[in-house]
Subunit: 456 residues, 2 copies
């Protein structure tokens, strides 16, 4: 491999390095620690801090916190950010936040408590503080919080040459920009041209002749999840943000949108399972319990519904005891089918492949799949039970209950999230608990009900 | 809002438009149909085709398939791509694929059957065909398949002025590029400079003085999921791809990486639920059954384990019938807890927040959370049962079984995916089935076992 001109491809964070870091921390060897940390990318340093235990983290920060810069601060997850910021001297903190673009400062601020927010705001230069405070005025999770306020704009009537001369003369361009935005006299964006097109066009070419074919803006109050969707759907690299009056107020770049997409996915997965979406590997057992216990308690009560259903059939069970052993098969297979249908529906709602336009067709599809799966499972289970217990009627009851519950599972899996979405709620919100309660209750009811009619 | 200079902000796909499209299709009105489709972005046209029923899709394509271009083809999901391609005349297909960059052609080709692959390859110009065939030689899901071969490279010793003059003179630059890659004499990339830095620097500045601080390359054989991770972790916008000898062979841009990240997430969610990761809203009931039945059948057999456990305690149940009604509470709450722990672990493995470095600590954390949740739930359930049934011992048995099963659930949820990952398997692969089987079996066993000792 060739020698890199760049500061060297950053070294990766691997187990050997983590071990060496922890050894240096334990030995109190600040010099070795600095040598080990220096070649790491800020994102990897953040990961390292998140992965080690709280006591190791404290010891590491005691030796090394003066090296923490803005980039590391903005990479660190919310779960440990407060802790890390507390370890910094006011000078280090001030230095760190002054390096950052306004959107990164906002990202750090929004999860902090007021006293720490105040410390950071005080550390900023006046102009930056105003910019950050303006961004914080937008709702949490909005495009206004996500955008950077530094934009590169030119009048719509300019030529390539004028734009290049302007860029050459500019003192302070954003760290990352990919488009020059064309604005009209009232600062409404009317199109944008990529730097690639500008660089490869003649100086006399009018910018309006080389703007991108498709052009979209978002409003500062739009939800960041919608913004991420638009980036992914339309392959945007950057997107101007406008206020209610259509005037340019900032720009969002794809790396921030990708980050939002990633976080939204994680939240969907965790919410679906009934876990608070703030779950992090650096949480302790107590924090983890607090995230999970609420839905477990809810489930304790919904599961009692199953118990209530079963208790109604005590007479049936006492006369045919094997029913007690067989009834979880129907309920459990229904739970899995409901989870399958649910995962597909929640994913499709997130990617907007499931919409009002096809909801009815998808529900019918699930109904069909539920019938087919039910029949397939009924055949295996029904004949299996017949063979094992020599009782054709028992096989029939198992098979029929299985078909009923598979249909309930398939429909429940798609209709629960669709209903939550129509109610304006998050379709992933603990849908898993609702759907498995449904399939448990129906599984026991169908099986024991049929048994009480046909077998007793 | 200001008038847009661009072709007009593409119109959105909404329910009204879908209804109007379907009406025009039914009326066989090709002119209205064209008017309705024209302002839509290719990605929205693809969504529309996916969301309508197969018969509507056929009718629409019969009227409109001559308008299908390369961009629409590459947006269409695998599930219906074959069907759409079959509806195209050879001329339309040839025209469509000739428009595309080589990476998009590869993306279309890889999911087609050989006869359709041949038709598309034949339609390409010779140079493009060679490029596509070379890309197809890389393994499926590799960086080599994802990359575009068109790169913008300059010798490492050039100045800004030389680079700008070179770009101005180039006939064919890629549609989208954000960096100029510096290479050494054997074509190994040594760094890159953003177009923004190039445009804002003086002509005499050496490119090597304005390259990005951090610089990464990936190998063509690297897994696309790893590439997506690197983009998200290090905030890359584009990344050069090298061969085993370190020579530049292509470049991957962030929009493709974002797409991979999105797909990987979807696959994780579906696999976790035991659904084939190809599930799509355009699948019919039969295709859906085929994706889901295999894991349901597996679950049918694993659920029989629970039945076997319960059948061992028939004597206990027959003497205290209420046990049959209460036993699903312990099992079901365990299932939810296992799902919670599992979702957190699978998500953390995907984001690489859960690694060898902290696996032991996370397992201990889960153990602690399991104990805490178990005690909390045991108190509610135990005292509740005591109150309702006036039987303190029954409450004790329920509470103890709950604690045992919560611990099993918490540990199982993290250890099943960790074990699958160590075995080189996908940690999400139907982990849900394994974990709920575990919590069902342990839930019934702990509850009935304790009951048989303490209550009978």
């Amino acid at each position: 491999m060739a020698e890199h001109l760049a500061e060297a491809e950053d070294e990766m964070l691997d187990q050997a390095r983590i071990d060496a870091v922890l050894e240096a921390v334990e030995a109190g060897d600040a010099t070795t620690l600095e040598e080990l940390m220096a070649p790491l990318h800020a994102a990897d340093i953040a990961d390292l801090l998140e992965q080690i235990s709280q006591s190791d983290r404290r010891a590491l920060l005691a030796l090394w916190s003066h090296e923490i810069d803005g980039e590391i601060l903005s990479e660190i997850s919310d779960a440990i950010r407060e802790e890390v910021i507390e370890s910094l001297s006011p000078e280090v903190l001030a230095e760190a936040v002054r390096d950052l673009e306004s959107d990164d400062v906002v990202d750090i601020l929004e999860d902090l408590e007021p006293p720490q927010q105040g410390m950071i705001l005080d550390a900023l230069a006046d102009a930056d503080r105003v910019a950050v405070e303006q961004a914080m005025a937008f709702p949490e999770g909005s495009a206004g919080r996500l955008m950077q306020r530094e934009t590169v704009v030119v009048p719509e009537h300019w030529t390539v040459g004028e734009a290049i001369d302007f860029l050459r003369k500019s003192d302070h361009l954003p760290d990352q920009f990919y488009h020059v935005i064309l604005v009209d006299p009232v600062m409404s964006p009317v199109g944008y041209a990529t730097l690639g097109r500008i660089l490869s066009s003649g100086r006399e070419v009018a910018l309006r002749d080389i703007i991108e074919d498709s052009f979209r803006t978002v409003e500062a109050t739009d939800d960041e999840a919608d913004v991420a969707y638009i980036f992914n759907q339309y392959h945007l690299i950057s997107c101007p943000v406008v206020d209610a009056g259509g005037r340019l107020v900032g720009v969002i770049t794809i790396d921030d949108a990708m980050n939002v997409l990633d976080e939204e996915h994680g939240e969907d997965m965790l919410r679906l399972a009934g876990v608070g979406d703030e779950a992090s590997m650096s949480d302790g057992a107590f924090a983890t319990m607090k995230q999970r216990l609420p839905w477990l308690v809810v489930n304790l009560f919904t599961a009692s519904l199953s118990a209530l259903v079963i208790s109604r059939f005590e007479a049936t069970i006492s006369s045919i005891l094997i029913l007690a052993a067989l009834m979880p098969i129907v309920a459990s297979t229904g739970g899995i089918a409901g989870t399958q249908s649910l995962a597909v529906a929640v994913r499709a709602l997130a990617t907007r492949d499931l919409t009002q336009a096809n909801a009815r067709r998808v529900v019918m599809r699930e109904l069909g799949a539920g019938v087919l799966n039910g029949m397939g499972l009924a055949l295996i289970l029904g004949f299996g039970a017949w063979g094992i217990f020599g009782d054709a009627k028992l096989g029939l009851v198992l098979g029929m209950a299985m078909i009923v519950n598979q249909i309930v599972a398939a429909l429940g899996g798609v209709m629960v999230p669709l209903t939550l979405e129509r109610m304006g709620l998050d379709p992933a919100l603990a849908s898993g608990t609702f759907v498995t309660t449904l399939t448990d209750v129906m599984g026991f009811f169908a099986f024991l009900g049929l048994a009480s009619v046909l077998l007793v």
